[in-house]
Subunit: 70 residues, 6 copies
């Protein structure tokens, strides 16, 4: 029954294996903390383009460029 | 005013015609059950990659592979 | 696997029976259009206070007051 | 802490510059109205295909075609 | 057509007037940046209990307590 | 930057301590799997009334009643 939505920026290092670990980890978390049956846990991962995510009024694209130019 | 979000896995059989039927059906549902004016109903469909959806701690990609190998 | 989220304004006429009909109708829709197994369909209903929903820059609370004063 | 999700249809005119303005504007709004620190505001923009968004029981794809044929 | 969801923590200072300003401001933003017709813009505000929002692994309830004890 | 939304049914056993564990666990998960800085991880928990959540076309309220009557 639980539904977990994980939103992250779309980046190269988010491989299918990493996604597998996020799904497994979130499922275990709901089981361990609330006793939810693993079969009932749904997890979705939304990968958001860095142009489409902003923190502090600035897009993540721009934040990453600033970091690299340091 | 109602807003319906339908999240499904991204699969080939979800054609524009199928999406049209989901939009029409969800709109009719809100009209029939709650008397909402169809013009006020918004529906969005999110198609999620099978790598990005997990049930029971396993990705849908893996679940589909298991089914096919049976 | 499908996950349907229905957002409506919180109003007195949304009884448990109406919610039951929304859940059943949305589940049938996913089954009829995409062949999804009913047991796999999850539906959640979010009831949003009329102060917390705006259309056209105006809260639904205010829109309802305008209608009544006509 | 605030989290703002903006869902729009995917259209050519939504350039990175427009997205930048949406992020900045939403961040300023939360600061101006509720005094939230800009650094704490997160904004995500979801661009939804016009086939996947319906209003009044009809997809936006179809609504746009009707407008053009007028 | 645009749909804006604003998630904030539930706090006393979020009055109906403040909500009105958030709705108006978000609607104007979509109009000013993307030329969306105000009547087509929907805004919902989700007020989340401070126990139910975490940043940096800690609930906002706890973060506020730490601030006050300083 | 990551944003995790956990939706569960509203039940008595979901104490503030359990919520604290969900927040901490989800934050650690994003750190361990993707190397995200804990301070950047936001977690929200939505507690949904059992009347407002359906699985297999039936509300959770009804599913729980069936279990108890067995």
């Amino acid at each position: 029954m639980p539904y977990v939505n994980i939103r992250i920026t779309k980046e190269k290092n988010v491989t299918p294996e990493k996604k597998r670990q996020l799904i497994e980890g979130a499922t275990n978390l709901l089981h361990d903390v609330l006793g939810k049956h693993p079969k009932s846990v749904h997890v979705t991962i939304d990968e958001v383009e860095t142009d489409n995510w902003g923190v502090g009024g600035v897009s993540v694209t721009e934040l990453l460029e600033r970091q690299q130019s340091k």
